[in-house]
């Protein structure tokens, strides 16, 4: 004997209600209501997602204090033009698909905050190279996509650049290099022996894409960072 509607559990009654044709509402009403609900839901979802892109949100964790301090010494934080690149500008893609992927992957940061993986300066230093190489790998693989949201070789006027910068950028174009090939450590301090690790990252990615094996690591990274730091101080 089938159970009467009153005797069914609330889940079954809800399921039945969802799939029963609406008799009290017209199709137009349901379409408009659904459309408005969709706007509200999607707007709220997107707005919440944008809140997680703020500098305050990114640095609200204790473990982010070290990299925040380092970033505040760089040209991306303080410069003559007043244009600032915050954490999400470099670490969160603009494109929806890549952005959602980055946000889901960022769950690991919450885990490591709770687990205290980099909770002390010693632990931070111990993990600095692996953290940096993970970011380099992403940037190299995406042709420095997040850098290119603001910077683009096509928009550079080499005549306005320092002679050395202009020649290095021309070399980068000629050798099919990307921003991160020279600008590692542009926002955070570099671990020792970083160049060797970066070379390995590049080689590992090159092995996946045959024919791309150029010399794609800057030979004068220290000079580039020194130059940009000097510009920050001005």
């Amino acid at each position: 004997m089938a159970a009467s509607p009153e005797n069914r559990g609330w889940i079954r009654r809800l399921w039945s209600w969802i799939w029963t044709p609406a008799v009290a509402f017209s199709s137009g009403f349901l379409i408009i209501a659904g459309f408005l609900a969709g706007i509200l839901f999607w707007g709220g979802f997107h707005w919440t997602l944008e809140l997680t892109n703020t500098e305050e949100f990114c640095t609200s964790c204790h473990t982010m204090e070290t990299n925040l301090g380092e970033y505040r010494e760089t040209i991306h934080y303080n410069n003559h033009s007043g244009v600032r690149a915050i954490c999400s500008d470099c670490h969160v893609p603009h494109e929806w698909n890549h952005k959602i992927k980055a946000k889901i992957m960022a769950v690991k940061d919450v885990y490591h905050e709770l687990a205290g993986t980099i909770s002390t300066p010693e632990k931070y230093e111990a993990h600095r190279l692996s953290m940096a190489s993970a970011v380099w790998k992403k940037m190299k693989a995406s042709n420095s996509r997040e850098c290119r949201n603001c910077h683009n070789f096509d928009y550079m006027d080499f005549t306005l650049q320092e002679t050395r910068a202009a020649s290095e950028h021309q070399r980068a174009i000629d050798n099919n290099m990307t921003c991160i090939d020279c600008h590692q450590g542009i926002a955070h301090s570099l671990p020792s022996d970083y160049l060797e690790t970066y070379q390995k990252v590049t080689e590992a990615l090159d092995s996946k894409t045959p024919g791309a094996a150029h010399q794609q690591v800057a030979e004068n990274g220290e000079q580039i960072r020194s130059f940009l730091t000097t510009r920050t101080d001005q």
Binding site: P21, W96, N97, I100, I104
Partner: protein, 85 residues
């Protein structure tokens, strides 16, 4: 693992998931819903690769197609259950 989950999530909340579901809801034929979802998966991957096949990663394409198939099939099932005529 995390990269895999991220890619699946990105596709589920992106074109293959949402447009795939919407297109699936337009048919009662399961194969057609799944095929349209898969097509959206291919188009989305190509779109993000700048329409260059060389830039398409096999794993990303595969995940986008699978998510599209699932979303299209789900949409088709919603149509079958939810429409009276």
């Amino acid at each position: 693992m995390l990269e895999l989950l991220g890619t699946i999530g990105g596709n589920a909340l992106g074109l293959p998931g949402i447009l795939g579901l919407a297109l699936g809801m337009m048919t009662r034929r399961l194969w057609l819903g799944a095929a349209m979802g898969a097509l959206i998966g291919v188009i989305e991957t190509l779109l993000f690769a700048g329409w260059q096949i060389a830039h398409v990663e096999a794993l990303e394409l595969m995940i986008a197609v699978v998510v599209g198939i699932c979303a299209g099939s789900l949409g088709c099932l919603i149509r079958r259950i939810g429409a009276t005529a």
